[in-house]
Amino acid sequence: MAQLSNKIKEYCKANGVSDVDFLEDVKLQDDSNGQGVYIAEWNLDIAQPTDAQLASYETVANTAEANAQVDATRKQAYGSWNEQLDEIFHNIDAWKARIQTVKDNNPKG
């Protein structure tokens, strides 16, 4: 199940808000009492979504989470910028081939 924050991000994106600050724009709260996460404050100009509206973003949020996980895996496999710059300096074609292999091994949904 997708995180509530990601479903809200997708809802906001679909309604013209590209970036959500979860410290100011939307405050989510979990009182650790078994009731789960809820929206404690909604400070965006667009309407606060209903539970049903948020549920409709489950699939797209799951895909976004999976792709973000792929991004993180790729980033680790790419290595640091300075290591890559050194690779490029010595053999740019070998570097391109290695990067392509990382992408092929970690496809996005």
Partner: protein
């Protein structure tokens, strides 16, 4: 015999005094006091303020800490030294953007500890908060909230095992 007055010239401060009775009206006690820890990780959703449940009491002199709600509600009015230490972690390296913990008195933040790793995301942040808080001895309570922001979705985040929360009343 109750001593009502001691004049400095009648008390040799270099002497030893061996009391066999009870001395009252001196000193004080540093209770209520408690110490609790996380026993096992507490998973949390990212970008969500989450009440930390320190679920294992090391001691609790006055039954004032609730492992169910994570709140300390002492029934003696006074000033309390309160501290907490929390280790917040993501399940993956290089994705922990920022995190914080906040010490709440009732619904207001007293103090917080913030780590900002946006330029170099990591995996684990250690936080400590300390404050002296005036408590009314009936309804006032304190608790700890934690927040984690990660760069990538799909991973888990947690408040680590052995994070601690403790308090004691100071002698006034």
């Amino acid at each position: 015999m109750a001593i009502t007055k001691i004049q400095s010239e009648s008390l040799n401060l270099s002497d030893n005094y061996d009391f066999t009775g009870t001395v009252t009206g001196a000193g004080g006690v540093m209770t209520p006091a408690f110490c609790a820890e996380r026993n096992g990780d507490q998973g949390i959703s990212y970008s969500v303020r989450t009440t930390v449940k320190f679920n294992n009491e090391i001691f609790d002199s006055s039954n004032a800490y609730s492992t169910t709600s994570g709140t300390f509600t002492p029934q003696v009015a006074g000033k309390y030294y309160i501290s907490a230490n929390c280790q917040l972690t993501s399940s993956q390296n290089d994705i922990l953007n920022y995190s914080f913990i906040e010490l709440y008195k009732n619904s207001s933040v007293v103090t917080e500890s913030v780590h900002n790793n946006l330029n170099n995301p990591g995996k684990i942040d250690n936080h400590t908060v300390i404050a002296i808080v005036d408590m009314n001895g009936s309804t006032d309570n304190v608790s700890i909230q934690a927040f984690i922001n990660v760069a990538a979705g799909g991973y888990t985040a947690a408040i680590r095992d052995m994070s601690t929360f403790q308090a004691y009343k100071i002698i006034e």
